[in-house]
C-alpha cells in the first residue's frame, strides 16, 4: 500500500504542477464567469446605451401609426407599484423617439437628411413606416444600432403591437379594449415530469445530461491520453525497469490510473465548484455591475441515488478506458505508433458520443436502450438517458454492473499486456503475440 501511495503521489504532484494543468483548471472558472456574467453584463450595457438612443419615427402612413409605435416603445410596468415602475425603468430600454408625419412623396428627400443626422450622431437611427407597414408586410429601420438583435426585436414588436392595435380599433373596438386585446405576451415554460413529479425544466435536464456526457467524454480522452503518454514515457526512457525492481507492474499501473484520475477529479471539482459558485453569486454580481436578473431556469433536482449512479458511471467509465489506454501505451514504442494503436479505443469513444444526440431526442428508443447497456458506451449514454427520461432502477443497476464487469476484465487484460509490454522493445506486437503476452503472465 505504501508503494502504491508513493506512485500515486508522484503521478499527482508531477501533473498538478505543470503549467498546462494550472492553465486548464483556471480556464474553467473564467469560462463559467464568461458564459454567466458577460452576456448579462453586455445586455445591460446595451440597454444603458439604448437609454440615450434617439430614434426618429418617420410616419408616412397618414394613419398616425407613428404615435402608437412611440407609445409601444415605452414599455408598461408590470403593475403600478413603485417597485415595478422602478424595475421597468432600470430594466428596459427607453427610446427617446420623436415622431414626424410626412407625405410619402417627400420620404426620399427626408431620408437623405436623416442619414446625415445619423452620421453626425445627432440621431441613433430612424424608423420608416409607410403603406407597406399598414399592409402588414414591412417597416424599415436604419441606424447605428441596426445590428443589435435585441433592439431590432424591440422595435419590431412595437411596430407589430401598434399595427395590431390600430387594426382592432379600426374594426370598431374602443381604444382601451384594443389595447388590452393586443397586449399578448406568451412565454413557453417547459417542465419535465417524472414518476416523482415535476423535476425542473426540460431544457435544464437536457443541458445537464449533455454536460455530463461531454465532461466524461472529454476527461476520458484527455486523461486517457495522459495515461498513454505517461506509460510510453516510462517505457521509452526505460525508467520502467528501475521502478519495477521496487514495485510490481500491477501496482505501477494502479498508481498511474488512480493518480491521473485524482488529477482529473481535482480539475473537475474546481470547475463544478466554481460553476456552482458563479451560478449562486450571479445575481449579486450582475446587480453589482448594474444589471438586472436574467431569465433563469432551475437546476434539475438530482436525487442522491441518481447522483451516486452518475458518479459511479463517471469513475467506472474513466477506469475502463484508462486501463485500455495504458495497455496501448505499453504495446507501442513511439508517439506515432501510439496514435495509430489507440485508434480502436478512440473509435469506441467516438462511437458513443455520436449517439448522444439521437438518444437525447428519443431517450426511450431501442437504440437508447441498447447503447446504455453496452459497457463501452454506457458510461456516456446512460447519464444522457437518465437526464432525458425516467430510467428504471433495474436498468441503471444492470448497466452499472456491466460496466463494472467490463472494467475488471479490461484491468485484468491491461495489467497482463502492461507487465510484458513495458520491457518489450522493437516492433509492435501482432494480435497473436498480444494473446501470448496475456497467457504468459
Amino acid at each position: 500500500m505504501d508503494k502504491l501511495w508513493v506512485v500515486i503521489k508522484r503521478e499527482y504532484i508531477e501533473r498538478v504542477r505543470t503549467k498546462w494543468f494550472v492553465f486548464v483548471t483556471l480556464f474553467g472558472p473564467i469560462f463559467f464567469a464568461a458564459i454567466m456574467i458577460v452576456p448579462g453584463y453586455l445586455s445591460v450595457r446595451g440597454m444603458q446605451d439604448a437609454r440615450v438612443n434617439s430614434v426618429r419615427i418617420v410616419d408616412a402612413t397618414g394613419a398616425g401609426l407613428g404615435y402608437r409605435v412611440a407609445e409601444k416603445l415605452v414599455p408598461a410596468a408590470a403593475d403600478s407599484s413603485d417597485a415595478a415602475v422602478a424595475a421597468r425603468d432600470s430594466a428596459l430600454t427607453y427610446m427617446r423617439s420623436e415622431v414626424r408625419e410626412v407625405a410619402p412623396a417627400t420620404l426620399a428627400a427626408l431620408e437623405d437628411s436623416l442619414v446625415a443626422d445619423v452620421m453626425a450622431q445627432r440621431l441613433t437611427g430612424y424608423l420608416i413606416l409607410d403603406s407597406a407597414t399598414m399592409a402588414g408586410t414591412s417597416a424599415r429601420y436604419a441606424g447605428r444600432n441596426a445590428s443589435s438583435v435585441g433592439e431590432n426585436e424591440q422595435i419590431e414588436n412595437a411596430v407589430r403591437a401598434a399595427l395590431l392595435e390600430s387594426r382592432i380599433e379600426s374594426a370598431g373596438i374602443d381604444a382601451a379594449t384594443a389595447e388590452s386585446l393586443s397586449r399578448v405576451r406568451v412565454r413557453l415554460a417547459a417542465e419535465r415530469i417524472t414518476d416523482e413529479g415535476k423535476g425542473g425544466s426540460g431544457l435544464a435536464g437536457a443541458i445537464f445530461g449533455f454536460a455530463i456526457a461531454f465532461l466524461l467524454y472529454m476527461s476520458i480522452i484527455f486523461y486517457g491520453q495522459a495515461i498513454l503518454r505517461g506509460v510510453l514515457e516510462e517505457k521509452t526512457t526505460r525508467v520502467a525497469e528501475v521502478v519495477m525492481s521496487s514495485v510490481t507492474a500491477d501496482t505501477l499501473l494502479a498508481g498511474k490510473v488512480i493518480g491521473v484520475g485524482a488529477v482529473g477529479l481535482t480539475q473537475q471539482l474546481t470547475w463544478v465548484a466554481s460553476g456552482v459558485l458563479f451560478w449562486k453569486l450571479r445575481g449579486a454580481i450582475l446587480s453589482a455591475i448594474g444589471a438586472p436578473g436574467m431569465p433563469s431556469f432551475a437546476f434539475p433536482a438530482i436525487e442522491p441515488a441518481v447522483l451516486i449512479a452518475l458518479v459511479l458511471f463517471f469513475l467506472l467509465g474513466y477506469t475502463l478506458y484508462a486501463a485500455l489506454f495504458a495497455a496501448v501505451g505499453a504495446m507501442v514504442g513511439s508517439q506515432e505508433e501510439a496514435n495509430q494503436a489507440s485508434q480502436p479505443v478512440m473509435m469506441l469513444l467516438v462511437f458513443s458520443i455520436i449517439f448522444v444526440q439521437p438518444v437525447m431526442m428519443d431517450p426511450t428508443s431501442t437504440l437508447a436502450n441498447v447503447m446504455s447497456l453496452i459497457p463501452f458506451s454506457a458510461p456516456i449514454i446512460m447519464p444522457v438517458r437518465m437526464s432525458a427520461t425516467q430510467v428504471p432502477g433495474v436498468e441503471i443497476a444492470g448497466s452499472l454492473l456491466g460496466v463494472a464487469l467490463a472494467c475488471v476484465a479490461c484491468i485484468w487484460l491491461a495489467a497482463r499486456i502492461y507487465r510484458i509490454g513495458l520491457l518489450m522493445y522493437g516492433k509492435r506486437p501482432s494480435l497473436r503475440e498480444l494473446a501470448r503476452w496475456v497467457r504468459q503472465s
Binding site: E14, V242, S246
Partner: protein, 321 residues
C-alpha cells in the same frame, strides 16, 4: 549471516521462440563481488530480471538474503542498475531520487539527507551549483549516469545488482563506479554485476559465473577457476615472423586446440592430452627462434573463449580491455 546473499535453484525461463535460461543455479556468498559473465544473449539480463521479480521464472526458486524474493519488503534491500538506464526527464533530480528512495521504503527525511550527501559526493552539489534542483533532462549524459547510480544506492541496499554497469560510462564515471564497488565490498555489501568485458571482471570480482546459451558453464572463486584451467595454456613469443613450417605445427589440431594469434606472440590452448614439451620440441624442430615459452595461468578472457567456444561469442565481445 550463514545464508547466501543470493541463492538461485534450478531456474528456467523460456519464451515462445527460445529458451532464455535453462535449469540455472547459483549461490552468491555475502560480502563478495560476483561477476555474471556471458556473451550477449546468454540470459544474463533475463536472470537478473527474475532475481528482481520483474519477470517470473517458469520453474525454480530464488531467495535473497535467506528469504524468497517475492516476500514483502525483500526487494527493498536490493539495489538495481539496469543495463538500459532512464529517469523521468521532466522531474527535478531531487524529486526523482526521493521517488526512487521512497519506493524502497525510505522515509522522506532520511531520503533528503542521503540525497544531499550523495549529490555532494558525486560532485553534483557544490557551493556554486546545486544540480539537485535541475530537471533531469538539463543534465549531461555523464551526470544522468551519476544520478542513476545514486538512485541505485540511496536506500543502502545489502545486495547491489548492476547489469552491464560499465557500458556507456565515460572513464571518469567508470572509475567512480569501480571505487564505489570496492567501497561497498569493504562495508560488507554484496555486489553482483553482469558484463561481457572480461577485463573489468578480472580486476573486480572475487567469484565469477560464466553463462552461455542460458546455461551455466562454470562458476567459482576467480582464483579457483583460473587454477582449474591452468596447465593448458602456453605463452609463446617468436623472434621473427613464423614461417610455413612453424605455422603448420601451430595449426596441428592434435597439439593446439585454440590459439590467440598476435603475430609474434601467441596464447596457445593445448589440445586435450597434448604435452607442452612436445609442442616445444616440434616448434624448435621447425626451426623457430624462441624468445619466450611459458606455461601460464589463463586470463579470464582465455578461459571464457575456451569454455564458451568461439561459436558462442558474438561481435559484442571485447577482451583484453
Amino acid at each position: 549471516m550463514t545464508e547466501a546473499a543470493l541463492e538461485i535453484r534450478g531456474v528456467s525461463k523460456s519464451y515462445a521462440e527460445h529458451v532464455a535460461v535453462s535449469d540455472f543455479s547459483l549461490s552468491v556468498p555475502r560480502g563478495t563481488v560476483y561477476g555474471l559473465l556471458g556473451p550477449n544473449g546468454a540470459g544474463k539480463t533475463t536472470t537478473i530480471r527474475m532475481i528482481l521479480d520483474i519477470i517470473a521464472p517458469d520453474s525454480g526458486s530464488i531467495s535473497i538474503l535467506g528469504r524468497p524474493h517475492g516476500d514483502r519488503g525483500v526487494l527493498d534491500s536490493v539495489g538495481y542498475l539496469p543495463e538500459e538506464r532512464g529517469l523521468y526527464k521532466k522531474m527535478s533530480v531531487r524529486d526523482v531520487l526521493r521517488f526512487l528512495a521512497e519506493l524502497k521504503g525510505v522515509d522522506r527525511r532520511t531520503a533528503n539527507a542521503r540525497i544531499d550527501e550523495w549529490l555532494s559526493r558525486m560532485g553534483l552539489r557544490t557551493d556554486a551549483k546545486d544540480w539537485g534542483k535541475a530537471k533531469v533532462d538539463e543534465l549531461s549524459r555523464g551526470m544522468q549516469q551519476k544520478v542513476q547510480f545514486i538512485g541505485t544506492l540511496l536506500h543502502d541496499p545489502s545486495l547491489v545488482i548492476l547489469d552491464e554497469p560499465f557500458s556507456g560510462l565515460d572513464p571518469i564515471n567508470a572509475q567512480a563506479l569501480k571505487d564505489t564497488v570496492v567501497e561497498l565490498r569493504r562495508r560488507g555489501k554484496t555486489v553482483i554485476f553482469s558484463t561481457h568485458v572480461m577485463d573489468s571482471a578480472e580486476r573486480l570480482c572475487d567469484s565469477v559465473c560464466i553463462i552461455a546459451g542460458g546455461r551455466k558453464v562454470l562458476d567459482g572463486k576467480l582464483a579457483d577457476v583460473r587454477a582449474e584451467n591452468a596447465g593448458h595454456t602456453v605463452a609463446l613469443a617468436l623472434d621473427g615472423d613464423p614461417d610455413t613450417a612453424i605455422s603448420s605445427v601451430l595449426r596441428d589440431r592434435a597439439l593446439v586446440a585454440r590459439m590467440d594469434d598476435h603475430g609474434r606472440n601467441f596464447e596457445i590452448e593445448l589440445a586435450a592430452g597434448a604435452d607442452a614439451q612436445e609442442l616445444l620440441h616440434r616448434i624448435v624442430a621447425a626451426g623457430a627462434r624462441i624468445r619466450r615459452f611459458e606455461q601460464v595461468q589463463p586470463s579470464l578472457h582465455q578461459i571464457f573463449l575456451q569454455r564458451v567456444g568461439a561459436t558462442g561469442v558474438e561481435e559484442g565481445m571485447s577482451g583484453h580491455g
